[in-house]
């Protein structure tokens, strides 16, 4: 992708972006990335009003960007149009919350038991669907006390890294954060947990550019010193990784104070599997895996693909003796974070996922491995299969060893 304004002139209207758009394939009324991106962008730049509700239906999966032979940043143009689109009041209120999972996490985890009880109540979900237009079909992830802390320094660690947990790990699954830390420590890293905020993907996805920008600034402030001292940042959520690696989607580009540091963060950020794969390539991966009799289906999240790092989890999981992994390669799951929770988008979200669901049903795995939390939710919602983060499978393979070293 060319992250500049001239990219629009690279659009030759070949429509390849349309061939890979999950929304267009699921809903014939959707104008598609070519129309909503470069075509309308030309008019928008001339000040001609082209506001359409359809921009809200872009998943932000970046598949259009990746398919473009001329590197046009199609989805970025749609995201900008989304940020200026005016929503009806109720949806605007709902999306205000959806843009702020960090704030939501902080509030719900004051009394997590009460929040979980309330969110699971049939009547509450009915009310949320009526008042907030949040689909009653889905269940919210459970919230838990945010107790992920930096572990004590271990003596034999060779390199120190910063772990960026993201909202889901921080407020919903801190134990997954501990799995990540454990995996890193077993591979010679010592870990400190970043005192970061939400990465800002939900804010961008919900058209809240101001929040995305302020979160990006807060995250730069939180991690600039660590990155400056040469530490690498590790993410285990593909959307957080995508956001950090694209220098917060370029939203700080013109920002004198923060742009440089944002780019530093981008170049220092590694997906957990990317880092472990680099260890493997250097012959330094701890490969004391106990054999496991496990048949897995792997789904690569869109924001993993958009990082351009190949398929590191697919290869790592296959290193465990006895584990077979089938890459579903069946497109987007349709969830896209908060998108699938929106009442008006629930049907299209499920229709998009149907390709993946069908592939999983055909593969009949023992479980599905995918590193994105909302992909997991969607897979478990659309099929009868359990979906977990591949880090848990990898750690489990270590765990069974008669604790080595």
């Amino acid at each position: 992708m060319r992250p500049d304004d001239l990219a629009i002139d690279n659009c030759l209207k070949c429509s390849l972006c349309n061939t890979v758009c999950p929304v267009l394939a699921a809903d014939p009324r959707y104008p598609g990335p070519k129309r909503l991106g470069p075509e309308l962008e030309r008019l928008r730049r001339e000040g001609i009003s082209t506001d359409t509700e359809w921009v809200e239906y872009c998943l932000g999966c970046h598949r259009c960007d990746l398919s473009c032979p001329n590197q046009v940043n199609v989805s970025e143009m749609i995201a900008r149009a989304k940020a200026t689109h005016r929503k009806p009041l109720i949806r605007g209120l709902r999306d205000w919350w959806f843009a702020r999972p960090g704030l939501l996490g902080k509030l719900t985890t004051i009394l997590p038991a009460l929040s979980n009880f309330a969110l699971a109540m049939k009547s509450a979900r009915y009310l949320m669907s009526k008042i907030m237009q949040i689909t009653p079909q889905r269940t919210f992830p459970k919230y838990t006390r945010p107790d992920l802390r930096s572990p004590a320094m271990t003596g034999k660690a060779r390199q120190r890294v910063v772990f960026f947990p993201g909202c889901f790990i921080r407020y919903n699954r801190p134990e997954l954060g501990r799995v990540v830390i454990d995996l890193l420590e077993r591979n010679g890293f010592s870990v400190e947990v970043a005192s970061s905020e939400c990465c800002g993907v939900p804010a961008s996805a919900n058209g809240d550019a101001a929040v995305a920008r302020s979160l990006a600034r807060a995250n730069v402030r939180a991690m600039a010193a660590q990155v400056d001292s040469g530490l690498r940042i590790v993410t285990a959520c593909s959307s957080c990784g995508h956001m950090l690696k694209t220098a917060f989607g370029g939203i700080l580009d013109g920002d004198k104070k923060f742009a440089g540091a944002a780019r530093e963060i981008a170049s220092s950020t590694f997906d957990l599997a990317e880092l472990l794969m680099a260890q493997a390539d250097a012959g330094e991966l701890n490969t004391n895996f106990q054999p496991a009799d496990l048949r897995l289906a792997y789904h690569a999240p869109c924001h993993q693909k958009s990082q351009g790092i190949g398929r590191p989890w697919y290869h790592l999981l296959r290193m465990i003796p006895g584990v077979t992994v089938e890459d579903m390669d069946a497109g987007c799951c349709g969830m896209s974070g908060t998108y699938g929770f929106k009442q008006e988008k629930y049907a299209v979200s499920m229709e998009i996922g149907e390709q993946l669901f069908a592939s999983i049903r055909a593969a009949q795995p023992q479980m599905v491995a995918t590193e994105c939390a909302t992909c997991q939710m969607q897979i478990e919602h659309g099929t009868d299969f359990k979906a977990i983060h591949p880090a848990e499978i990898l750690l489990h393979a270590y765990d069974r060893q008669s604790d080595a070293e």
């Binding site: 390849l16 014939p28 473009c68």
Partner: protein, 365 residues
């Protein structure tokens, strides 16, 4: 941060890149295929023009390369028909007849036929394809070729919302996804096919569909079905691309899609790999050898430094020295003014893939 996990790095997902990757993979190499986006095959019918083949027919190994390509296509579920010595006239998207030597099977039987009545199918609301225009053009063209075959246009429609406008892509995706839609289409075709011996449809029979699926469909319709190419993205070209890409993935080729190669690493006459401009930090793909199948982009990747290739398809610098002993170029030459054509792309890809494979590799599965 990927690395030495491959023997051969192929850059470019056009016909040359696919053929090179397949040739190397067939020789048990671990292959990585890197591309910013699909090659130009997705914009056209996916066929090989006769002029390319005849122009190149004196090239050594051409038949072998074409045979290899056809075998790859057959295994990929998008078989080609034709060969290097014969040519047929097939309808183009403008309603002309083009001389074609090799084409996807679904396009191959659309040549003018004496005494055959062909129905050309339009779809209500379909943009960029007019069945009556096509019929008129083909009638005129076939008359001028002294064929007495006839063409007539018929329109079909569907009860469901097909979008506005209806695109060949939309219909092809429904064809792939929805068994009910396929049934609906079969019924609609049957209803207009009586009295005709052949059905021509625009490129709508699936983006991912295999030859077996299409054969089964055609059987259900009860009348031979051929496709006519449509505007880009041309479904018939796109289908070849999709099938070949999945085939390569299935035989173990690792695909890196979406980001450009920003540098070819050359050190002391050896190419150590390529640097891919992924977000944040570049990804270094290292390989025992590298095949650049990026057409004219190859020159800029090498700093515009090469003008010619040696016998083994390696670029030479301005002094005539080999730039890297393990770097091969497949595709158009930078300073050539003619379009080298698909036949040469296949040949160059085949040769480069084989040369790369014989240069070694130690990561084979």
């Amino acid at each position: 941060m990927e690395s030495d996990r491959c023997d051969v790095v192929v850059v470019g997902e056009g016909i040359a890149g696919f053929t090179a990757a397949a040739a190397a993979a067939h020789r048990k190499m671990k292959v990585a295929l890197v591309a910013t986006g699909p090659g130009s095959i997705v914009n056209g019918p996916g066929w090989l023009k006769a002029q390319d083949i005849l122009h190149a027919s004196s090239a050594p190994e051409l038949s072998e390369a074409i045979a290899f390509f056809c075998e790859m296509a057959r295994r990929a579920g998008c078989p080609f028909a034709g060969d290097v010595s014969t040519a047929k006239y097939l309808p183009s998207l403008l309603g002309d007849f083009e001389r074609v030597a090799l084409a996807p099977l679904l396009l191959w039987n659309a040549e003018p036929r004496d005494g055959v009545a062909t129905v050309i199918i339009g779809v209500q609301g379909l943009s960029s394809f007019d069945e009556n225009f096509m019929a008129e053009r083909l009638n005129e063209q076939s008359r001028s070729m002294n064929s007495n075959g006839t063409y007539a246009g018929r329109q079909i429609s569907f009860a469901r919302d097909m979008g506005t406008p209806v695109t060949p892509l939309r219909i092809a995706q429904l064809f792939d996804r929805d068994a009910d839609f396929r049934k609906e289409l079969i019924c609609a075709l049957r209803a207009v096919a009586s009295g005709f011996q052949r059905i021509f449809v625009p490129g709508i029979l699936g983006v991912d569909s295999s030859a077996e699926q299409i054969a089964e469909f055609s059987h259900e319709v009860g009348c031979p079905v051929c496709e006519i190419p449509t505007l880009p993205p041309s479904i018939s070209g796109l289908r070849v691309f999709h099938r070949m890409e999945s085939y390569l993935r299935n035989i173990g080729v690792e695909l890196f899609r979406g980001f450009p190669v920003e540098k070819v690493e050359l050190h002391d006459g050896v190419c150590t790999g390529v640097r891919v401009a992924a977000p944040g930090h570049a990804m270094n793909l290292r390989g025992q050898c590298v095949v650049l199948a990026t057409g004219r982009h190859s020159a800029s990747l090498l700093g515009g430094a090469y003008a010619v290739l040696d016998q083994e398809m390696r670029p030479l610098d301005s002094t005539g020295a080999v730039m890297a002993r393990n770097l091969f170029i497949a595709g158009s030459l930078p300073h050539s003014t003619s379009n080298n054509g698909d036949a040469m792309r296949i040949l160059a890809g085949y040769r480069a893939g084989n040369l790369a494979a014989s240069t070694g590799g130690n990561h084979a599965a």
